[in-house]
């Protein structure tokens, strides 16, 4: 069986939906399909809390937003991409407003903005603290009005089909029936989001398993800057559920076990009563997470059953402000931690949150592999460099989702139709492989998928955490290789074709092992410390050698190769990252 569309978009999160609308708008004659392993409105974008950044007030300028982003990235971003980004971010957020997004407002009806970490001006648009939820539902509901957008809800993409050096479609499994289908396309946009689940303790949802990165890598497209994994300083200790940065932007304070605002000891400024932009609690995430590690080493954190924590203090904000601006934080603390932040301290610790790296694309979302595009967290354009600023990701997926959609619409108009027979043959091979996987793992002497996954996650935490070094990374790499061999023999309980979630977990793990390997291998090669990549054996930034993107790609023999690409610098030469002074 086979289906055909001009454009296939893998992923129905913010980036995927925005791309689909862009294609539909650019050329209504094109048929566009969204293939997503969950219903689009369940995508992880729904969890984003804090907000989306774009210049809003008269006191702010595009240049300032760009500068904050560039310095936040530790100069590893491409500045042409950032310049395009800051201009279009505002347009996109307004567009979303016109589509009905319930942005929080000033009393006079204008959009309200809040402060956010690493930003020098107030420019984070928000919808209380459910920004991603409102953004995703607005996009999803708006997409419903484009009746030409076809959806494959709860279909899992297992392979990108490449023929003659060009991506020609995907193979996907319909979860409800187990049916495997080849979906032929003139171009594919991958919008599958991040890969936080390769780590044990993450804010990321269960679906964030880096499938798209693995699909692209397997198909021969390179991955960029994979060593940069963002830790968010404030996750709830047991679950890893995020307490948004907005909590600090509204005035929340971080305290160590002595009730001391410890950030002042880490060159992040001096404590003040009112939050000061780009200072103390409003410093960037990499620096705050690193400060935590040092506090812990000094024995000044609180030890709990769920590991070491510090405290986030929101008590002085008062009930009214919390309910108006941070209702979800209150709800989450009550449900998952059994505390009321209006009256109690919130225990928090750093948690894996976001992937700066991803599929290497240009500023139109195009990858080096013809016909393959990527946007959203799965892609690396790059505007985030070595450290993403909070609230830049939501506008990023809108801006580059839209750009990828427009670029693809142009691309498919120009390319000739190609032979489909070899593509369908590849599809049938993939179907046979999947059937083999399903039946071949029904033995009882293999390990459980979940056990291998847990071991992989622990390996990543130990080897590629907030601080890493040669030894830890090498050890992790060896361990991952061992896990790959063991994974090949792992067994499954479930042979059913109907909604087989164990099969999904198996396919996800297979991809995660690749993604994890890329993270570690890229980290091993970068012998410097920059942004989120901190090597204890190379504690300094080395612009001489490493002001460059690492690009990892798969060699035909299954091994990998790491290369470096220059960083694009337009107006802001590398400088020192200064916060709080």
């Amino acid at each position: 069986m086979a289906a055909w569309h001009n454009v296939v978009i893998v992923g129905g999160g913010g980036a995927g939906l925005r791309a689909a609308i862009a294609v539909a708008e650019a050329n209504p004659k094109l048929t566009v399909a969204i293939v997503s392993k969950v219903y689009p409105m369940r995508s992880h974008t729904v969890s984003a809390e804090g907000g989306a950044a774009a210049v809003a007030g008269d006191d702010d300028t595009m240049d300032e937003h760009a500068y904050d982003t560039v310095s936040g990235s530790d100069w590893l971003c491409d500045q042409d991409a950032v310049e395009a980004f800051v201009v279009e971010a505002r347009k996109e957020l307004l567009r979303l407003e016109h589509w009905g997004c319930p942005w929080s407002r000033e009393p006079d009806g204008r959009i309200a903005v809040r402060a956010f970490g690493g930003m020098k001006k107030r420019r984070t648009w928000f919808a209380a603290d459910k920004t991603g939820f409102h953004l995703l539902h607005t996009l999803f509901q708006t997409a419903l009005s484009y009746t030409d957008i076809v959806r494959y809800d709860e279909w899992f993409v297992t392979k990108l089909l490449v023929h003659d050096g060009r991506v020609r479609g995907v193979v996907a499994v319909e979860l409800a029936t187990g049916r495997v289908e080849t979906i032929v396309a003139d171009a594919v946009i991958v919008c599958t989001g991040g890969c936080g689940r390769v780590f044990p303790f993450t804010t990321n949802a269960n679906i964030k398993t880096g499938d798209g990165m693995a699909l692209a890598y397997q198909a021969g497209a390179p991955l960029k800057d994979m060593e940069f994994v963002q830790y968010h300083p404030t996750g709830l200790p047991f679950t890893g559920i995020l307490i948004t940065e907005a909590a600090r932007a509204e005035g929340g304070r971080l305290l160590n076990k002595d009730g001391y605002r410890y950030l002042q000891d880490y060159d992040l400024g001096t404590p003040t009563d009112e939050p000061v932009l780009r200072s103390m609690e409003l410093g960037p995430r990499d620096r705050l997470s690193q400060a935590f590690v040092h506090e812990m080493e000094k024995g000044r954190t609180v030890e709990t059953e769920a590991g070491h924590v510090v405290h986030l203090d929101l008590r002085h904000l008062g009930e009214k402000l919390v309910d108006e601006r941070l209702p979800f934080v209150r709800e989450l603390c009550a449900s998952y931690q059994n505390i009321d932040p209006v009256h109690e301290l919130v225990p928090v610790r750093p948690v894996v949150h976001y992937m700066m790296g991803g599929i290497h694309t240009d500023i139109h979302g195009a990858t080096p592999l013809t016909g393959l595009y990527a946007a959203g967290e799965v892609a690396c354009v790059s505007i985030n460099g070595a450290n993403r600023l909070g609230s830049n990701s939501l506008p990023e997926l809108l801006v580059f989702g839209a750009r990828a959609g427009q670029a693809v619409a142009e691309f498919v108009a120009t390319v000739p139709g190609a032979a489909t027979a070899p593509v369908l043959a590849q599809g049938r091979d993939e179907e046979r492989r999947l059937v083999r996987e399903l039946s071949g793992r029904q033995h009882s002497d293999g390990e459980r998928i979940a056990d291998i996954r847990t071991e992989m996650q622990e390996t990543m935490e130990a080897g590629a955490g907030i601080y890493r070094d040669e030894a830890s990374l090498t050890k992790a790499l060896d361990k991952l290789a061992e896990l790959k061999t063991r994974f090949a023999r792992a067994s499954m309980d479930d042979a059913s074709r109907t909604f087989n979630t164990e099969l999904v977990a198996m396919l996800e793990l297979s991809g995660m092992l690749d993604v994890a390997t890329c993270i570690v291998a890229s980290g091993l090669r970068r012998k410097e410390s920059r942004g989120a990549h901190q090597r204890t054996d190379f504690p300094d930034r080395d612009d001489e050698t490493y002001l460059a993107h690492s690009v990892i790609s798969r060699k035909p023999d299954g091994d990998w190769r790491v290369e470096y690409l220059p960083v694009t610098i337009t107006r802001w030469p590398p400088g020192e990252r200064v916060y709080g002074r």
Binding site: H44, V46, D108, R110, L144, T498
Partner: protein, 246 residues
């Protein structure tokens, strides 16, 4: 607190059986564990064949709707200790066809949703460079109805939906009202045919359980009730006023 708790899980494996059965599992009882954590423990350690949906585990993605001890709940926001000493009975959401185990078929809702046009219908092209003004007071009018996570608990709670699957249902109507009441929207008239049909608000007999079940305090029952009043007023006006004067 006991060390463990029994979870009785409703199973349906269409390839193996035509009728549902129950399986029992012993899972650790931890104070921070939600029902979902119990299921994950079963899936990862005891029985890989159990199927259910989940993703965000923070009550916002709407995937994990299930019936826990007879009530529709989000598995990730319902805690095992609240059911100690057990057993906890977990079933799929009521009122939906079941694909397998705890996974229900919600295609019906997905098909109905677009019929109420849940998107902003504008009067004219907005100015690209500015926002529509909307005061917090105007936003209050619809804010509550915009909080729906499409979790389907309200459908599982509504007996009318069970009896009359044609009923558009609580969440879809609440979402239509979310746009009807938005000061930026001009589409109320477009939505009226569907909302004010026999399968729309008039099918609802105000059981009110939808609002009780809703984990996000959307109050779909209120949305429907309000729309009944609106639709009735409109109908009277249509009846009394000549065409041109409307």
């Amino acid at each position: 607190m006991p060390e463990s708790i029994t979870m009785e899980v409703w199973r349906y494996r269409p390839e193996r059986e035509s009728e549902p059965t129950w399986d029992s599992y012993e899972v650790p009882l931890r104070k921070e564990w939600a029902v979902l954590d119990g299921l994950n423990h079963i899936k990862d350690q005891l029985d890989g064949t159990l199927s259910y949906r989940w993703s965000c585990r923070m009550g916002i993605c709407g995937s994990c709707g299930m019936t826990v001890n007879g009530e529709p709940k989000l598995g990730c926001s319902t805690f095992l200790t609240d059911y100690a000493p057990g057993p906890v009975r977990v079933e799929p959401l009521h009122n939906f066809p079941v694909i397998r185990d705890l996974v229900v078929e919600m295609g019906d809702f997905m098909a109905k949703l677009p019929t109420v046009k849940p998107w902003l219908v504008g009067d004219d092209e907005p100015d690209e460079d500015t926002e529509y003004r909307q005061t917090p007071v105007e936003m209050d009018d619809y804010k509550r109805y915009s909080m729906c996570i499409n979790c389907m608990l309200c459908y599982a709670a509504c007996p009318v939906y069970a009896l009359d699957p044609e009923f558009i249902g609580p969440a879809a109507i609440a979402l239509a009202q979310r746009y009807n009441l938005d000061s930026r929207d001009a589409g109320a008239e477009d939505r009226r045919d569907v909302l004010a049909s026999a399968e729309g608000v008039w099918a609802c007999t105000f059981v009110g359980e939808c609002s009780v079940a809703c984990p996000k305090d959307v109050d779909p029952a209120g949305a429907i009730q309000r729309y009944k009043l609106t639709a009735a007023n409109k109908a009277v006006r249509d009846l009394l006023l000549p065409r041109g004067a409307r």
